[in-house]
């Protein structure tokens, strides 16, 4: 192209890029406005919960959105009035032990359903999946009677012990991940004379750490948030109430008033899992994606 031609084309091209830039700027503003509006819709409820938790009881009944004065004492008061520490400890024991149980019991099952090949495997896998779809109501009555016979009602045992017998959702998720592990890795270990247990422990578990982390996080969160289980098995003994049952009872007693304390107690309940999420966000989101896309 000659210099003269460049000279005539250039201003036009420059005008076009300026226009394009203006257009892409406007699209970007529009995109961000929608995203910011949605962010507000998702985050503002949490913001109001936190601000109300710092108000005086009277102010919490007004239209005010910002605490005046900031009454930090609410957080001390609720720990004095309600045995929140004990509820928190119970919740932590339930969630921690259930997570341990599910990971320890589900990894071998998922291994047997993916890395090892055997007859009838597909049928068993379908059975595992189908238990995921079974409403818990269909098994709850006989389980309640069984645990009552064992004298476990009013303790955390009915919530923790079953976790050590495997969890269908975790088995499913781990299996999906184990299937993506290259077969050469396993074969190499087998050639080296490793037995199945060694292969599982030293090869598969090492590679599958992200999936195991996701399963552990899901299970912890599930147990932390669980209401139905603790309601059925622990309602008669407030010594072993979890935060979910404790908070529900607290709200019912103080309904319509003491919003500030109810919100403070809610914050205490949700804060640990929110902090956990912020630290382990990547594992969470990868886990959710794994269930949805590969499922």
């Amino acid at each position: 192209m000659s210099d003269a031609a460049v000279a005539t084309v250039a201003p036009q091209a420059r005008r076009r890029t300026a226009e394009a830039r203006r257009k892409s700027f406007l699209t970007s503003v529009a995109n961000h406005s929608v995203a910011i509006a949605l962010t507000a819709a998702f985050v503002l409820p949490l913001f109001f919960v936190v601000t109300t938790s710092l108000m005086t009881q009277r102010q919490a009944l007004t239209h005010d959105l910002i605490p005046h004065p900031f009454q930090w004492r609410n957080y001390i008061d609720i720990f004095k009035e309600e045995p929140l520490l004990r509820y928190g400890w119970n919740t932590f024991v339930y969630a921690g032990m259930a997570t341990l149980g599910v990971v320890l019991s589900s990894v071998p099952v998922a291994y047997a359903l993916s890395v090892i090949k055997w007859r009838g495997q597909r049928a068993v896998f379908l059975l595992v999946i189908s238990t995921m779809m079974l409403p818990s109501q269909v098994t709850i009555v006989p389980l309640f009677l069984l645990f009552r016979q064992l004298g476990w009602i009013g303790s955390l045992k009915p919530l923790i012990v079953p976790a050590f017998l495997g969890d269908a959702f975790s088995i499913f998720l781990l299996r999906q991940f184990f299937l993506t592990i290259p077969g050469e890795l396993v074969d190499a270990a087998r050639v080296d004379g490793a037995n199945e247990f060694q292969i599982m422990w030293h090869v598969v578990v090492k590679v599958a750490k992200p999936a195991i982390a996701a399963v552990a996080l899901f299970q912890f969160l599930y147990a932390w948030n669980d209401f139905f289980g603790p309601l059925i098995y622990s309602l008669n003994n407030d010594k072993i109430w979890t935060l979910s049952v404790g908070l529900q009872q607290f709200t019912t007693v103080h309904r319509g008033v003491l919003w500030n304390q109810q919100m403070a107690a809610s914050v205490v309940f949700m804060l640990p899992v929110i902090v956990l999420f912020l630290f382990a966000q990547k594992a969470f989101i990868e886990g959710v994606t794994l269930t949805g896309v590969k499922g």
Binding site: S28, H32, A35, L38, T39, F42, P45, F48, V49, T52, H63, L65, S105, S106, V109, V124, T131, M133, P135, Q137, V138, T139, I140, V141, P142, L143, F144, L146, P162, L165, G166, I171, N225, F227, F228, L231, I232, L243, S244, L247, Q248, Q249, T251, T252, V253, R255, Q262, F269, M270, V273, I274, L276, F277, L278, F284, I285, T289, G292, V293, G295
Partner: protein
């Protein structure tokens, strides 16, 4: 495998069959052994228990309204996330955050947020929008519960986000060359490509929708005002939040009509199974699998 086999037999197979047996008996869990009554409870459920129908209607309402809405909002907010070049991680965290909030805490939070004089009521008034009484009004209590559910749409959204980002760009480029507009691209490229995920979400939504319990329990107990175990006020206001599982819980674990609760549990199982099968049957008409197989 063995822990799972023990677990399967002990926690699923045996209790399922035992529940089926109980459903044909009258039994209060006490010393008197179960008394065989045949199909009595199944007949009773359909012909004499008005609360069975009320709770089933409420539950169907919830499934029919909240499953499509959460798919719509899930796809919509995921679509919004695919747009901005910068700040996606920030928005994603913000959208996802509410799903971390425990169900009981979310219900308690919205009891406050939606109450007359609460922040959302205040904002609606400021915008000159209607300010319903939400959980105090039988017309608005279920929509209030839907709001709580939609607030936690983040996990659905994450799944859709991954699906949207997985749609090959060359399909959009081909559509561009043929002069397709934004709507046509959405209708003929995006929706077919993410339809398996929509299907998956719908199935999960229906299965869990029929088991909807916690939020309704917390709201019903708080509005009706019963604590310490006796929650005859569940379903408040005026039975509008009496869902299937709430009625089942009251029958089984408050009145200890274990036979009737067992019959209701099996009926629930049958209903859920039927709905899932209908969805799966319908799927080959609207779900598009790449390469023509699942």
């Amino acid at each position: 495998m063995s822990p799972w086999i023990v677990g399967f037999l002990l926690l699923y197979a045996y209790p399922m069959l035992k529940t089926l047996y109980y459903s044909f008996t009258r039994y209060d869990g006490g010393k008197t052994p179960p008394h065989w009554v045949g199909l009595f409870y199944y007949r009773f459920m359909f012909t004499q228990d008005p609360y069975f129908w009320l709770s089933l209607r409420n539950t169907l309402w919830m499934v029919v309204v909240s499953v499509p809405l959460s798919i719509l909002l899930g796809v919509g907010s995921a679509y919004v996330l695919t747009k901005p070049r910068r700040g996606r991680a920030f928005y994603r965290t913000a959208f996802f955050l509410p799903t971390m909030v425990p169900a009981v805490a979310a219900a308690v939070a919205f009891l406050f947020l939606l109450n007359a004089g609460g922040p959302i009521d205040h904002i609606l008034g400021f915008l000159h929008l209607p300010q319903p009484l939400w959980f105090l009004d039988a017309q608005w209590s279920k929509p209030g519960l839907v709001v709580i559910g939609l607030w936690g749409v983040g996990s659905t959204m994450i799944i859709f986000l991954a699906a949207l980002l997985n749609v090959p760009t060359h399909l959009y480029e081909a559509a561009d060359i043929e002069g397709a507009n934004a709507w046509q691209k959405l209708r003929h490229v995006t929706l077919p490509m993410i339809s398996p995920v929509i299907f998956f979400t719908a199935v999960i939504g229906v299965i869990y929708g029929f088991q909807y319990f916690t939020e309704a329990y917390v709201v019903g107990a708080s509005v009706g005002g019963a604590a310490g175990g006796t929650s005859s006020a569940l379903g408040s206001p005026q039975g509008s939040t009496l869902f299937y599982t709430i009625w089942l819980y009251q029958q089984g674990f408050e009145a200890f009509h274990l036979g009737y609760a067992s019959a209701m549990a099996w009926m629930l199982f049958v209903i859920v199974l039927a709905c899932t099968l209908v969805l799966i049957k319908s799927s080959n008409r609207w779900v598009f699998y790449q390469g023509g197989f699942r």
